[in-house]
């Protein structure tokens, strides 16, 4: 890790708070994600991890606090603007285009990357660059054989791979993955970890992950979110040695 103190964080959260009605789900979250690092957020069910992602990616606006992407405030911006600013996310619950082919699922994001969002005057089949890049992503997530099947017909783990692939297509520098390996078997998880490692090479990754072995093998740093606050941020080894974390969260698993 070569993050100097002067270098600006890729993503910075300061005092981020979110209430749903009377319930305060996030209570002043402070978090710095360094450029190029792979950073995990762990925490018990209902801790607010997905809510955190929803705030960063623009699904909701924070009730209070500041979110900065490359030094620029993005709190409360619409999702599409945040995506265009270079941050792309996946979803905990698979969120794909079920009635489109796998290829088309991926091509939508590639088109957005090339700024052809409203292309109306040229057939898509002739856009060599776009189609080539789509094929490339397709190969990276290992779905070539499924290119022309409906996304809704894929197996669960194939859909999860597609979910990751779609997140990559817009060319964002900062990738948020919400529980990419949830519900996968051991082998599938191992494959997914390899996949995530290669596709986030040279990018900044923030991921929610329950599986500590995944966190250990993939991530540079870990933040622990409990009841809406960050309890600690450290290296995986540091976190597993952290008393407070053990008590609050890892305790049950470590026992």
């Amino acid at each position: 890790m070569n993050a100097s103190t002067t270098e600006q964080a890729a993503l910075r959260l300061a005092g981020v708070t979110k209430s749903f009605g009377p319930i305060e789900v996030l209570k002043g979250v402070n978090l710095d994600i360094r450029r190029g690092e792979r950073h995990a957020v762990i925490g018990p069910n209902g801790a607010g991890k997905s809510t955190l992602f929803n705030l960063i990616s623009g699904m909701f606006s924070p009730s209070a606090g500041e979110i900065a992407l490359n030094g620029r405030s993005i709190a409360g911006l619409s999702p599409h603007l945040i995506n265009r600013a270079g941050l792309s996310r996946s979803f905990q619950i698979t969120n794909i285009f079920h009635r489109l082919s796998v290829f088309e699922n991926l091509r939508i994001g590639i088109l957005a990357r090339h700024g052809m969002r409203y292309g109306l005057f040229r057939p898509i089949a002739r856009m060599r660059q776009v189609n080539d890049e789509t094929t490339e992503v397709l190969a990276r997530v290992g779905l070539e054989a499924r290119a022309h099947d409906l996304a809704g017909d894929l197996t669960y783990s194939e859909q999860r791979a597609l979910e990751i692939g779609m997140t990559l297509t817009t060319g964002a520098e900062i990738i948020l993955l919400d529980e990419p390996t949830a519900g996968m078997s051991r082998e599938e998880t191992a494959q997914a970890v390899d996949l995530i490692r290669t596709v986030t090479e040279g990018k900044t990754l923030l991921m929610v992950e329950h599986d500590m072995s995944v966190v250990f093998s993939l991530c540079d740093r870990v933040s622990v979110l409990v009841y809406g606050s960050i309890l600690a941020t450290d290296t995986p080894t540091g976190i597993s040695a952290n008393r407070a974390v053990q008590e609050a969260y890892l305790g049950e698993e470590a026992a």
């Binding site: 599409h80 969120n95 009635r99 489109l100 939508i108 969002r117 898509i124 817009t170």
Partner: protein, 428 residues
């Protein structure tokens, strides 16, 4: 291969559309004009429901706007504005696009039922305002104009109007088809599938939906202007909710998931109304019945059923299917005959004329005439006929369905003729 064949099929069809009408009489030419206009209207409407997944209940608004815009331009041409008559629909396009952008901005803020209700409200707004706006919509009477000659064309005959309409419908139809092949066309399908994810991929979903809506309204406006050119008049009744619901029925009966489905539906309905609207006052009821039956037994519409057969044409034993299909047709016709008999009898027996006849008969129930025969309302025979038709048709149809089902299943296609509907989602 299939592309080539489709191209040839399309070309043959087009040649027929060009070559046959001169051989037809005026009434048929006029009917064809209406069929073409209804087809374009339905295609434009289906851009929203079939591709973007947005159900508009107020497309009469843009149809009417297009018609009035074209008429105003025609009036200007009458008063000396040099504008080529064949390009009059551009007025409908511009008006449809403009109003579509504004209405679409508000309507597409919501999806589903709320979207449908907003579109309905917008159309109702036009419907209630139009009779009061003399200048723009000509009050209750509407406005009228004449087609002016242009170059060497006089546009005096129905046939010349037909060709003008045909040209516009074909060009717009091809344009809408091309649309499905563009990036924005593919985005439209993605919006239907999962609007939220579209946003997180960097698209402004609202703006995209406004554009889809405006394009649909623009082509609808062209369809409306073609009607104005053909009729040379229009009034506020074009904004009626019946016009809006008509296109919904046609599109769903034809099949919203197949590109040409709406054309089938529009053509079938427009043709039927031409053929039978003089014979019966219950045409609207029959339309409703057809709609309900299609939704119940073939939810993907006529187009969906046709497409499903085309897709499975190589796996099907057509020689074995022919018999049961004919049987099903026979059963359907028997039932239809029974229903028509009952409907027409009811409409006679509860009609004003019959009430007068009863007065003449001192409150008795005089016989009535239907299908060239005399029926006595209290006679056993009168009601045995429809009952036998319905029962017989039902038995025949059930048997046919069983046989058809068995043949389809034996081909290893669990899906029955109407079940599948994901066609537009496939790869381009």
């Amino acid at each position: 291969m299939t592309n080539m064949r489709n191209l040839i099929l399309g070309a043959v069809f087009l040649v027929l559309l060009i070559a046959v009408p001169p051989l037809l009489d005026l009434a048929w030419q006029n009917a064809l004009v209406n069929i073409l206009i209804a087809s374009l209207f339905a295609l434009a409407f289906n851009l929203l429901i079939g591709q973007a997944g947005l159900l508009s209940f107020g497309h009469a608004a843009y149809f009417g706007i297009g018609a009035f815009a074209a008429l105003h331009l025609m009036i200007a041409v009458e008063n000396g504005l040099p504008f080529p008559t064949p390009l009059l629909p551009l007025a409908g396009a511009a008006a449809g696009l403009t109003v579509g952008l504004i209405a679409g901005y508000f309507a597409t803020m919501r999806s589903g039922v709320y979207f449908a209700l907003v579109t309905l409200a917008i159309a109702e707004l036009f419907h209630s305002l139009a009779p009061r706006l003399e200048g723009m919509f000509g009050g209750e009477a509407g406005i009228a104009s004449m087609r002016m000659p242009w170059a060497s064309f006089t546009f005096g005959s129905m046939l010349s109007v037909y060709y003008l309409v045909l040209a516009w419908v074909v060009i717009c139809g091809l344009g809408l088809w091309a649309y499905t092949r563009t990036p924005f066309g593919r985005l439209t399908l993605a919006l239907r599938d999962n609007e939220q994810r579209v946003r997180f991929l960097g698209y402004n979903a609202h703006a995209s939906k406004v554009i889809v809506f405006a394009i649909s309204a623009m082509v609808t406006g062209i369809a409306g202007s073609l009607l104005a050119i053909s009729n040379e008049t229009a009034n506020y009744s074009l904004f009626a909710s019946a016009v809006s619901s008509q296109v919904v029925l046609q599109t769903f009966v034809g099949g919203a998931t197949v590109f040409l489905g709406p054309v089938l539906g529009a053509a079938a309905f427009a043709l039927f109304s031409f053929l039978v609207s003089d014979l019966t006052r219950s045409w609207v009821l029959y339309q409703g019945l057809i709609f309900v039956l299609v939704m119940l037994y073939a939810p993907s519409g006529i187009g969906g059923v046709v497409e499903h057969h085309i897709r499975n044409r190589k796996n099907l034993d057509w020689s074995r299917l022919a018999g049961p299909y004919l049987l099903a047709l026979a059963g359907g016709l028997l039932i239809a005959a029974g229903v028509v008999f009952l409907t027409e009898s009811a409409s006679i027996l509860f009609g004003e004329e019959y009430a007068m006849a009863r007065q003449g008969a001192n409150g008795g129930l005089p016989a009535y005439e239907l299908f060239g025969l005399i029926w006595k309302p209290l006679s056993f025979v009168t009601w045995t006929v429809p009952a036998a038709l319905l029962a017989g048709g039902g038995v025949v149809l059930m048997r046919a369905r069983r046989e058809i089902g068995a043949i389809w299943d034996s081909k290893g296609h669990g899906a029955r003729p109407a079940a599948k509907s994901a066609s537009m989602g496939g790869a381009a």
